[in-house]
Amino acid sequence: MTADILLQAVIGGLLMGLIYALVAAGLSLIFGLMDVVNFAHGELLMVAMFATFSLWQLTGLDPLMVLPLVVVLMFALGVAIYHGLIARALTVQFNRGMVQIFVTFGLGIFIRGLAQFFYGGEFRSITGGMVANRTVQMAGIYVPLPQFAASLVCLGAFALLLVISRTEFGRALEATREDRDAVALIGINRDHIFAIGWGLGAATVGIAGVMLATFYYVSPNVGANFATIAYVTVALGGFGSLGGALVAGLLIGEIEALTALVLEPSLKQVGMFVVYLAVVLFRPRGLFGRL
């Protein structure tokens, strides 16, 4: 194994890891805010990918140009999911935990069914746009431009999330997360905060989806694998921790890339699950999780 191959793998893992991290950040945001695991998270990713694909196909616009539009749509979708489903699931009296699981699980199945209906099962990909099929050369290493652009956008999204968390709204989000019943005492409507939390979570995974669609195939089942990785990432980084999602995402990306070097490609995910199990055993709250 040459140093070049190793370096190539490390850079590949870094770029992919940033996408994993952003997908996980959306999941973690919602979980941290209201203790609800969104089992339709992979499907939200898939929706954003199909939206990008369709907008590109219909209008010929560059996938990067449709990013803002898709992000707004995803935000609206997140808000709608909260008001339409989650808010209702929160009010049930019996078996609330189960209801919350099934409601997002069912939503995921429903969205996948819709995608299957409208697009069929085949793999599609975006073949045009300014980043498609291009590479950049850095220090002797060739980096695919779509992945490079995606990782930059993901970093930018993280910076934006950090900024949001520092705003007054971010404080209100944090307060709601600490004591959802007490915020009414200061005139805050927690439903409003929860809805925006879902909007932000969906928009976050939406950004990842748009960028992923510039180089990854799109199909109704594409979200499943990313969602699994996102659950592992969130658990590894610590539930609800933004920084944790970033570090864990990068870690997962690297572990995957390096595992693929030594094991067969089909086993490339073994490494991340081994690390995950080790963390769960020795540090159940994750690397940056709160007790």
């Binding site: 007054e168 404080r171 209100a172 944090e174 307060a175 600490e178 004591d179 019943d181 007490a182 915020v183 009414a184 005492l185 200061i186 005139g187 805050i188 409507n189 927690r190």
Partner: protein, 233 residues
């Protein structure tokens, strides 16, 4: 200002309030006293929109029926609840500033900060400290401060002296008196009978969810029968 008529509330069929009627006039300090489990906290939570009630609750002539809790706050009623319910991981400053969150758009919405600091100078010294690491007395000050940041016209305090050392209890009662002078009406629930009846104008005695006596605070304080029968003192 606040008028309750025949208000009842229950928790899963168990009645906690039964036909409570009361009046609180503008600028008054009204105390609600009663033994443990009499329904004092439930009464405040009912007014704050946190428990479902029957009967009528009016604030400034407008019904509070079906008004969600956060809107009750925005209408000018602020509750400092039992257990204080601060945001423990947020700083003292963030806790205070969030009190003005629903007034976004008012450019002088942080103005009450000065009042809060003049009432509780300790809070100014601890602005960056996490609320959860404050002492019990400081937490109570912060809870009252946060409530004042919503600019209430009616301030409801649920056992502000609970779990606080005597020296600080004095400070808190002094602060309550100063708050009243700012034209804030006060509804006070207290275990400390003597102190609360001393600063109150009128009082209601609750027993198992009913008002069993009401009148000028001095009179209630003097009534030995009240003490024995309802307050067990």
């Amino acid at each position: 200002m606040l008028r309750l008529h025949d208000v009842s509330a229950s928790y899963r069929g168990l009645k906690a309030l039964q036909g409570v009627s009361m009046d609180v006039g503008k600028g008054e300090v009204v105390a609600v006293v009663g033994a443990n489990g009499a329904g004092k906290s439930t009464l405040l939570r009912a007014i704050a929109g946190q428990v479902a009630t029957t009967g009528s609750i009016e604030f400034d002539g407008e019904s509070l029926a079906h008004v969600p809790a956060h809107m009750v706050t925005r209408r000018g009623i602020s509750l400092v609840p039992e257990g204080r319910r601060l945001f423990p991981r947020l700083s003292v400053e963030d806790n205070l500033r969030l009190g003005a969150y629903s007034k976004r758009g008012d450019f002088d919405r942080f103005a009450p900060l000065e009042l809060v600091f003049s009432l509780f100078p300790r809070l100014r010294e601890r602005l960056m400290q996490r609320a959860g690491t404050l002492s019990g007395g400081e937490q109570q000050m912060l809870a009252i401060g946060r409530a004042l940041m919503t600019q209430p016209r009616l301030l409801m305090l649920d056992e502000p002296s609970q779990g606080i050392m005597p020296k600080l209890v004095d400070d808190i009662f002094k602060a309550i008196l100063r708050i009243r002078r700012l034209d804030v009406t006060i509804l006070l629930v207290e275990q400390r009978l003597a102190e609360s009846l001393e600063i109150a104008d009128r009082a209601y005695v609750l027993q198992t969810g009913r008002v069993v006596m009401s009148g000028p605070a001095k009179q209630i304080a003097a009534d030995a029968a009240v003490r024995q029968a309802y307050l067990g003192m």
